[in-house]
Amino acid sequence: MTKEDILRAYLEDDLFIQNNYLKKGEAQKHKWATDTNSNLIKVIKTAIDGGIMNESTNITERKINILLNNQS
């Protein structure tokens, strides 16, 4: 599975439609490089990247924390 496949697998979750983060069919079209304002998608991408790069869990968690703390 490529990282794009993994991302799509997450975006296909019903929660994205339920919470209006994505419209029906958008998940399948979504590319890794697609720009997004959704923090949730950004978090997921960071976590996937961390896995692909064999980062330690701590580093990935720190990256996500920084990402979300910087929203202020």
Partner: protein, 729 residues
């Protein structure tokens, strides 16, 4: 990578030099049990992993433990002194790069004065040769050796490519989450999704704590906030423990469900065995009763000669004769009695007369006695010496006076009278003569009864044989004996009970969790109400995003896993259908049913409408597992594993019937570019062998027949054992 050949020198039962060449397609080594198939599998495995499969311990053992058992006994016996080397050489051809890898393993023992000195370990030699060049290069660096071995067979797919038939059961254990996850990981790296769950849960936890701290810091009533926080922490702990409990319950439920399902497959057969066994016992008891009665009848048959007076049969005339004789006797007896009475009367009359005729002047008897004593007649006053005529005359007078009148009774006491006995005999005979008439009827009815018992005994015996054969065939078919069937039925009810009980526990646990969560929600609302001022928006957003991330991470992992299981299922079905083609009895589609804990899966065979087919026996399960093992390799996304690596398996078909053998070979030859299969199925069944050699649907490689130099039953040791290899194509 194609395995070109294996060369064995003094390896186990392969004494001397032996070589098998292989090509693409399915290569088959045919041999009966104990002919050296497993040793050949060991040889492959030994070269690569320095281990052989110990069938007694059901696990692989290192050379350092096996030592001299690796070396052919024949080679050891035939060597007087010196080093005996056991070696196996594998030659792989990398067709993509046109290069050759030669992997060799050697193990030495030394013989000196009949003592065997074993080397501690084996020696590994690896050669690499590019076909374009003539020279071969020995590889000595351990890292490079490992790399080459992983090129030949990567560790993660090894269990699905090189395996013993008896390992199939454990390679894919549907009710063990780890074996399925391991298999799924071959298809796609599900561990990535697991790692993301760990990250998401950790972040979610930390974010919640961060928010809690901020709420407490900004609280208008710090005391209340503290106490609410304490309660909140308690509830969180409680919920956590309840959730752990829930996992445990669900695992228990899944295990119980899985066991019930597994048992259900055989439940109908077990019930049938139990019912037939009950019938058998009933027949057996009946037979026992009848047999006892029959034996009793046989025993009492002789007694009846006397008890039922059968001994008298044919004596009817005897009684008639006796009757006549008795009659004559009675007549004669009466005559004799009449005569005797007449005689007595005459004699008595004479006595009376004689007594009456005594002279009037005869003295009284006492005087007569006196005269006898004095030997003198006082009447005539003359001498009468004792014994003289005069004396005797006087004595006669005395004796006559003493004569008595005799009666018939007096007469009778003087001789034996059998009259009563003879009459008794006559009367007895009279009674018996009636019995004699009914003896034939009695004999007939007795023999009728014996015949009836015998017939019934034979019938019950036949029934018993029939039912025993019925029960045996069910037992063979179901692979269950009577005790196992009984245990299975008990176990099935116990597991069902457990499942019911666990469902109640799961529900009541879920209620508790629900209540705790409600309370937690209220506390969080209260805590947020106590906050003075604004909580930073980023923090609220962060908590929300991370809660959603955690939720999505969990559900996505589940979804992806399910999808992969589905892919595995679809691919396995392709292989299963191909393997079972031509065998109507095992039609069905494999369905991997998810169990209640959401982690474990149960294989089922369903019909086209999705109805579960319950005849899942050991053979079916092994077929499903083999199909799944093939699917793991063949469904691997974007891989060429089935082209790159050689399937080597020993006796994979031994568990399922011969009906599936050709189907299995067809499927294997389609799925794998090269495979090496050790099989006994083609040994005795020459028809099947012919099919293997001629069936055009099978992409056939080399076929060999291996036989031991001395049959197993004719050898007391392996001192002269070697293996004959015959090429069949």
């Amino acid at each position: 990578m194609i395995l070109q050949s294996i060369e064995l020198n003094n390896f186990m039962c392969y004494a001397g030099y032996n070589k098998f060449d292989f090509t693409e397609g399915i290569n088959v080594i045919i041999g009966d049990n104990g002919y050296g198939k497993s040793k050949l599998f060991d040889a492959f495995y030994w070269v690569m992993y320095d281990e052989c499969f110990d069938t007694a311990k059901k696990k692989f053992q290192k050379t350092s433990l096996l030592k001299r058992s690796i070396v052919s006994d024949k080679a050891i016996v035939e060597c007087d002194e010196g080093v005996i080397t056991s070696s196996v050489k594998l030659t792989f051809h990398n067709t993509d790069k046109d290069s050759i890898y030669i992997l060799e393993r050697r193990y030495n023992v030394r013989k000196s004065d009949d003592k065997i000195i074993e080397d501690q370990d084996s020696e590994e030699i690896i050669w690499f040769k590019e076909m374009a060049y003539l020279n071969a290069k020995e590889i000595k660096e351990s890292e490079q050796i490992e790399r080459i071995k992983k090129t030949i067979l990567p560790d993660n797919i090894k269990p699905y490519m090189w395996f013993q038939g008896e390992q199939v059961e454990s390679i894919i254990d549907f009710n063990r989450n780890d074996t399925l996850t391991q298999a799924i990981n071959i298809l796609s790296n599900i561990t990535r999704f697991d790692n993301i769950i760990t990250i998401a849960e950790g972040l979610n936890e930390t974010a919640k704590k961060e928010l809690g701290k901020r709420q407490r810091d900004q609280s208008g009533d710090k005391g209340k906030s503290e106490s609410l926080e304490l309660r909140k922490q308690y509830l969180l702990e409680r919920i956590k423990s309840l959730e752990l409990q829930e996992i445990q319950y669900k695992d228990n439920l899944a295990t119980a469900e899985e066991k019930s399902e597994m048992l259900l497959n055989k439940h109908a057969e077990a019930q049938k065995i139990r019912d037939v066994e009950a019938k058998r016992k009933n027949i057996e008891n009946n037979l026992k009763d009848i047999q006892e009665e029959y034996n009793e009848e046989q025993k009492s048959l002789h007694k009846r000669m006397f008890t039922n007076k059968w001994v008298l049969k044919g004596t009817e005339n005897l009684f008639e004769d006796y009757g006549k004789m008795y009659n004559q006797f009675e007549v004669k007896k009466m005559q004799i009695e009449a005569e005797r009475n007449a005689k007595l009367n005459t004699e008595n009359a004479l006595i009376t007369e004689l007594q009456a005729r005594l002279p009037i002047d005869v003295p009284e008897p006492i005087h007569v006695q006196h005269m006898l004593d004095n030997e003198r007649c006082l009447v005539c006053d003359r001498e009468a010496p004792a014994g003289s005529e005069a004396w005797l005359k006087m004595k006669e007078l005395i004796d006559r006076s003493m004569l008595k009148i005799r009666t018939p009774e007096d007469e009778e006491s003087s001789f034996h009278n059998f009259s009563m006995d003879l009459r008794k005999l006559y009367q007895n005979g009279l009674g018996l003569s009636h019995n004699i008439k009914s003896i034939d009827d009695d004999i007939n009815s007795t023999y009728r009864r014996i015949r009836k018992l015998d017939k019934s005994r034979k019938l019950q015996s036949e029934n018993l044989t029939k039912i025993e054969s019925e029960i045996n065939s069910i037992i063979v078919e179901a692979s269950l004996n009577v005790d196992q069937a009984r245990n299975l039925i008990n176990e099935y009810s116990a597991q069902n009970e457990l499942a019911k009980r666990t469902i109640t526990e799961v529900n009541s646990n879920a209620n508790l969790i629900g209540k705790r969560k409600e309370e937690l929600q209220k506390i969080e609302t209260e805590l947020s109400k106590l906050v003075v001022g604004e909580i930073p928006t980023y923090l609220i957003e962060k908590v929300k995003v991370l809660a959603e991330f955690s939720q999505i991470a969990e559900s996505t992992r589940k979804r992806v896993f399910r999808k992969l299981v589905q892919i595995l299922e679809e691919e396995a079905n392709k292989h299963y259908l191909e393997m079972t083609q031509g065998n109507m009895s095992s039609r069905g589609i494999i369905r991997l049913k998810e169990l209640s804990n959401g982690k474990n899966y149960m294989p089922e065979l369903v019909d086209e409408k999705g109805n579960v087919l319950l005849q899942l026996n050991t053979g079916n399960i092994i077929l499903i597992k083999l199909a799944t093992i093939m699917a793991i390799i063949s469904a691997r996304q974007g891989s060429r594993d089935t082209d790159l690596y050689t399937l080597i398996t020993d006796a994979p078909m031994s568990v399922f019937g011969e009906d599936y053998t050709i189907g299995f070979c067809k499927t294997v030859s389609k799925v794998y570019r090269q495979s090496i299969i050790m099989s006994k199925e083609f040994y005795k069944n020459t028809k099947l062998r012919e099919q293997l050699l001629t069936n055009t649907d099978i992409k056939l490689g080399k076929v060999y027949l291996i036989t031991p130099s001395i049959p197993q039953n004719e050898r007391s040791n392996r001192n002269s054992l070697s293996t004959n290899i015959e090429k069949l194509n």
